[in-house]
């Protein structure tokens, strides 16, 4: 999932400026799972903004809606009835994708309430870790299911660097060296010979280096 975390309240408050009525939109997708932008967090943010405004002796009207997903026009269009003339701004608690989808559909001031961090997962309750670098061409079958692109601090593809000491990365003593993990894993699987294969350089044009990407499935287009 996409993992995000809330922006500081003061920052969101500044972003909405003097708006008197705002629409606060949560997302039922990834950010609900990572406890950053679901229905509950939407309620907390709206209440906090109202209280901040009340403290200044002013009022703020908030409408709260949580969509199934904000990264899908099918759900975003459900907001049409809430985006009335008097709504002066929209606060999105989705990842950067959701914010852009709202901004594309509505001719309103749309602001993000979250900082989108990475593609990752929950390793325990309340702890999320990055796991995928979204490089566009998966190589996990070559590395025992451990991604060197995102888990190696240098994204090395040909083994550890000199900063790998005692199985740890020089960047942080708590961070395991991805290549140590890969070696240990392949050894346990009896597949160390995978590391001896000669491979061409990775085609980074399939990653962000090739500009914004697009996936098209002709069979499902309307």
């Amino acid at each position: 999932m996409i993992v995000a975390e809330p922006k500081p309240l003061a920052e969101v408050s500044e972003l909405i400026g003097e708006a008197r009525k705002i629409l606060v939109v949560g997302c039922g997708g990834c950010v609900t799972v990572c406890l950053a932008g679901g229905e509950k967090e939407t309620g907390i943010l709206a209440a906090s903004l109202r209280m901040l405004r009340k403290k200044e002796g002013k009022t703020l009207e908030t409408l709260e809606v949580t969509l199934t997903r904000q990264c899908d026009p099918e759900y975003v269009q459900l907001l049409d009835k809430y985006v009335t003339e008097d709504v002066e701004g929209i606060v999105s608690l989705a990842c950067g994708v959701g914010v852009q989808f709202l901004a594309e559909r509505f001719n309103k001031w749309v602001v993000p309430a979250l900082n989108t961090k990475f593609a990752g997962g929950a390793v325990e309750h309340g702890v999320w870790e990055e796991r995928c670098g979204l490089c566009g061409e998966c190589i996990l079958h070559q590395t025992g299911g451990i991604c060197p692109i995102i888990r190696c601090s240098k994204s090395l593809l040909n083994g550890p660097c000199g900063g790998s000491q005692g199985g740890k990365c020089e960047v942080n003593p708590d961070l395991p060296c991805a290549w140590q993990l890969i070696y240990d894993r392949l050894k346990a699987l009896g597949k160390l010979d995978l590391l001896l294969e000669i491979r061409p350089p990775k085609d980074w044009s399939k990653a962000r280096d090739g500009g914004p990407r697009k996936v098209v499935r002709e069979d499902v287009r309307m």
């Binding site: 309240l9 509950k40 309620g43 907390i44 209440a47 209280m51 901040l52 009340k54 403290k55």
Partner: protein, 150 residues
Amino acid sequence: MAEFEPKIIAFCCYYCAYSAADLAGSMRLQYPANVRLVELPCTGKVDVRVLLGAFEEGADGVYVAGCLEGDCHFLKGNIRARKRVEYTKKLLDEIGVGGERLEMYNLSSSMGPRFAEIAREFTERIKGLGPSPLNRGYSPTKEEKAGEQR
């Protein structure tokens, strides 16, 4: 000027604080009438939204009273409540209401005197802090409160 009478909401666990309040009553112990109790099946039921809601609706102070640590009827409800209270305190600081207006207490059902003591202690704290910044425009005085009860 009339003395400030804060409005305090106490979220009390059924198994301890709420029973302790009952005991305090049976023992004829006096505690400030500023405290209004809300019974919960467990303090694990408290949520950031509920705590914020109390402040938004006009509370000057809020406390959560749960079982002694290790004695929760549902094992960890009071530990979870404490974490949520700590989180909400930070949020209240960010909002500018002040995290010191929210507190978590632990007691057992046999601690009637302690219940009354907590109520007095917290009421004094909030009186010292004055009305919540959200209620600066209006706070009921003793006379008004007496009128309300009539």
